[in-house]
Amino acid sequence: MTGATRQSPAQTGIVPKRRRVSGFLLLIAVLAVAVVASTWLAVSIGAVHVALPQAWGIVADRLLPGVLTDGGARTWTPVQEQIVWEFRLPRALLALLVGAGLSVVGAVLQALVRNPLADPFLLGISSGASFGAVLVLILGASALGGLSLSAAAFAGSLLSLALVYTLAQRSGRLSPSRLVLAGVALAYLFQAAYSFVLQLAQSGRAAQQVLFWLMGSLGGARWHMLPLPAVVLAAGVTYLLLQHRPLNALAAGEETAVSLGVNVHRFRLILFVLTSLLVGVLVATSGAIAFVGLIVPHAARLLVGADHRRVLPVSALLGAVFLQFVDIAARTVNAPQELALSIVTALFGVPFFLWLLRRRSVDRAVSVT
């Protein structure tokens, strides 16, 4: 009988922890499998069909020639190989990176401003990044002193976040409601600014390209675009996981965090730079994709609660899978035309946002802040 060894919660301590830990690990395992499966699917689906085993073979053959494929018997054509290796795989991997990155940024921002409705869009960070990127795309890098697309996007997002932060501060305290309102205002400002630049641009074609890219697209993904976001994301997530306690304390409130020994000014500055950097790097590769940073952290919290030690990894994996499927949908629904990713995410995001608004706890959160 296992019943005899079972103890009451008071005896076992604060949390029936063993069960929660194993449940969490199971969830991580399931999500990891989903990441691989969705990527496999993404590599196989498209205008040129590549069957799943062949898609696996192409990738395996490239990674470990002759080891993972049965004696290297190639059952695919060179065209298929080129499509899978040169285009679909980098695109699928970029989808994972962007989805994970935006979701982690969303989770951090929601803790930072203590508002469940926060995301890179709401705070104007994405618009700032887009503005920086549009300047480079339309005026050319030389006009901006040789700034690269990523650097310009990072500068834009950092500028907007710094502005939002300054505007929202009063008496040395940061008011969440002022933060969000300042973010919304700045988002409009930056949107107006890049719209202006777009209108000035004489080439209608370039403007149209930019416009599509502004709504999010992974169409331009190539291998050389992957290392930078991968490194930034890995470093960022590692740092955030190490800081899960201060992050929790900050989510509980500024004064609380101070009283719990968090150097709030420095920590918040680090988080601002980190989120700006992530958003800048991601927007530079994929454009501005809406709603991912809002939806995914919420879904993660529904699954594992509010503790950032669990929320961050689950958000990253969930976001990666989510954006992978969004991109698959964007490529296939209206083929051969591609949909902008924000159109697809809005399809999920808007109903979710409205549902979130209707929840009592969010009502309370909004009225309190």
């Binding site: 604060i14 929790n248 509980a252 609380t256 609660g305």
Partner: protein, 247 residues
């Protein structure tokens, strides 16, 4: 453990809020800070837990200037139960109490045990998995107190710990804190409660500490008239006492 404030002045946005406050809390003492709304009580308290930096003066805990200590070190000496309601993200009671371990390195094995005991101490041992936001006002205050206990400090700061609570829960919280025997500085609103629970009182008015000492010496009709602008009259009145068998 000794809290010592010498000539502490605090300004907010260029407005002087606290003028040259001197205040001492000795080991095991329960000291009350009272005064009318806006007199600077909470501001003074915030300067002790480093939410504000004083414009002048020195605040020491155990002989060290708290504003020179590393943030983590300071938080190992001083815990706070403030008015701020934590988080709109749905933290559980256990997660809130675990936050008390933030100033300490890594997830030590003893943390869980410590937090469990803190919750037991405030009478909420069975509530670990409940969502903090759904608790009643009295339960929330007790959870925050448990978090402060998990922080394992020898100085406790309370900012109106009984506001929004009904009379029974007010008494419960104050009794609980008294029984802890930790050096405590509490901003209190209710003068009768301050008189009943505190070893000593400091009275603030317009940013200055105008009186201090044992409650019976401090809370004279004269002083109350001068500070609050009301006449204090001794009358036969209901005295509320906690029932011993409760909780």
């Amino acid at each position: 453990m000794k809290l010592d404030l010498r000539g502490v002045s605090v300004t907010l946005d260029g407005h002087p809020i606290v003028h040259e406050a001197d205040l001492v809390v000795d080991d095991g003492e329960f000291v009350g800070l009272v005064g009318p709304n806006g007199c600077g009580k909470s501001t003074l308290l915030r300067s002790i837990y480093r939410a504000l930096r004083p414009a002048a003066g020195l605040i020491t805990v155990d002989g060290d200037d708290v504003h020179r200590l590393p943030a983590r070190q300071a938080a190992r000496r001083t815990a706070v139960v403030a008015q701020e309601t934590p988080s709109d993200l749905d933290f559980t009671v256990a997660e809130i109490v675990f936050m008390g371990r933030t100033p300490y390195r890594a997830d030590a094995a003893g943390d869980e045990e410590l937090c469990a005991r803190a919750l037991e101490r405030v009478g909420l041992a069975g509530a670990t998995e409940r969502i903090f936001a759904t608790l009643s006002g009295g339960e929330k205050q007790r959870v925050l107190l448990a978090r402060a206990l998990a922080q394992q400090t020898r100085l406790l700061l309370l900012d109106e710990p009984t506001s929004h609570l009904d009379i029974r829960h007010q008494l419960e919280i104050l009794h609980l804190v008294r029984e802890l025997g930790i050096a405590t500085l509490a901003v209190l609103h209710d003068l009768n409660q301050a008189a009943a629970f505190c070893d000593r009182l400091y009275v603030m008015n317009a940013g200055r500490i105008v009186a201090d000492g044992p409650p019976e010496q401090v809370l004279t009709p004269d002083l109350i008239c001068q500070v609050y602008g009301v006449r204090a009259v001794h009358r036969t009145q209901l005295v509320f006492e906690r029932l011993k068998e409760e909780r």
